[in-house]
């Protein structure tokens, strides 16, 4: 069982950062509703943990976009030398070579590469508001509304980027680099 380094980094980007981020939004909603709407009396320890959780989400969002844009995207958009017939090492060119897959680049990647950045920006602002206003948050209704909106934008951005990321990797996976052996199969002689 082997995986290439580019595959491994793509998995880290999509599953390690992106999917965890998506899963984490359920916790974000619990924190926001509990601290703002439901009026749950938070202890300072709970509030600190809530801040770490939101901060962790912001870190995941930054990690996802930075690795995506500055490590994986260059592999994705690599230009194939003239005359290359096998485009499997050039995902963007592979998608654009077929009218049935070109939309995955023209709409999927073109939207994903930009919309994904709204998630770290909004998650950073959200974390700042939670930490800065702490126990006073229930008294600032406008800020609570803004925080719910920021969380919604971060979720939508992550979901769109994640959906297109998964589909792009299905039709034109980013592969290459060294082979990493995960497990060696038993040979039955």
């Amino acid at each position: 069982m082997e995986i290439t380094t580019r595959d491994a980094i793509t998995v880290l980007h999509g599953v390690g950062f992106g999917a965890f981020l998506l899963l984490g939004f359920s916790g974000v909603m619990v924190i926001l509703l509990s601290s703002s709407v439901a009026g749950h009396p938070w202890t300072s320890k709970e509030r600190r943990l809530g801040g770490y959780y939101l901060g962790g989400m912001a870190v995941l969002a930054w990690a996802a976009v930075l690795v995506g844009a500055y490590v994986i995207y260059p592999w994705y958009r690599a230009i194939a030398p003239a005359g290359t017939v096998d485009l499997s090492a050039y995902p963007q060119r592979l998608l654009m070579s077929d009218p049935t897959t070109i939309g995955w680049h023209d709409i999927g990647m073109e939207w994903k590469e930009h919309i994904a950045w709204f998630a770290p920006i909004t998650m950073t602002a959200l974390t700042y508001l939670f930490v800065k206003y702490g126990p006073h948050l229930p008294r600032f209704r406008g800020l609570r509304n803004a925080m719910l909106g920021l969380a919604a934008i971060a979720f939508v951005s992550t979901a769109v980027a994640g959906l297109f990321g998964a589909m792009l990797n299905k039709y034109a996976p980013v592969r290459g680099g060294n082979e990493l052996i995960i497990l060696k199969a038993k040979t039955n002689d």
Binding site: A69, Y70, F140
Partner: protein, 110 residues
């Protein structure tokens, strides 16, 4: 801990509005880069990533710069949060729409 009486909503409003400004700036830069070859090459800060490198770096600078500016300006003030929230979320909505490729193409008359 700061007492409620001393705590204003200014810094919070600055964070929300700056996030809207940063996202909207990213969308406008992406649109400009897509519409103009010269802007696209100007935004090509790092060749492997192409114009996306300039779009994201400049947008982050605008976001952080506007956050710092607004935060200092509103540090000890209570601002109209309803207004800043509406402005921010209109910018977010516009950013989401502008970055959607069919709308980006439509805006360029393609």
């Amino acid at each position: 801990m700061t007492d409620r009486a001393d705590m204003t909503n200014g810094r919070g409003a600055a964070a929300v509005l700056a996030a809207g400004i940063g996202s909207f700036a990213l969308a406008l830069l992406a649109l400009a880069g897509d519409a103009s070859r010269s802007i696209s090459s100007t935004l090509n800060f790092w060749n492997p990533t192409g114009p996306l490198s300039g779009v994201t770096c400049v947008a982050i600078l605008i976001w952080l710069g506007s956050w710092l500016f607004l935060s200092r300006r509103w540090a000890s003030r209570d601002v109209n949060l309803a207004r800043t929230n509406v402005i921010s979320f209109v910018m977010f909505a516009a950013a989401l729409l502008i970055t959607f490729p069919p709308i980006m193409d439509f805006l360029q008359g393609k």
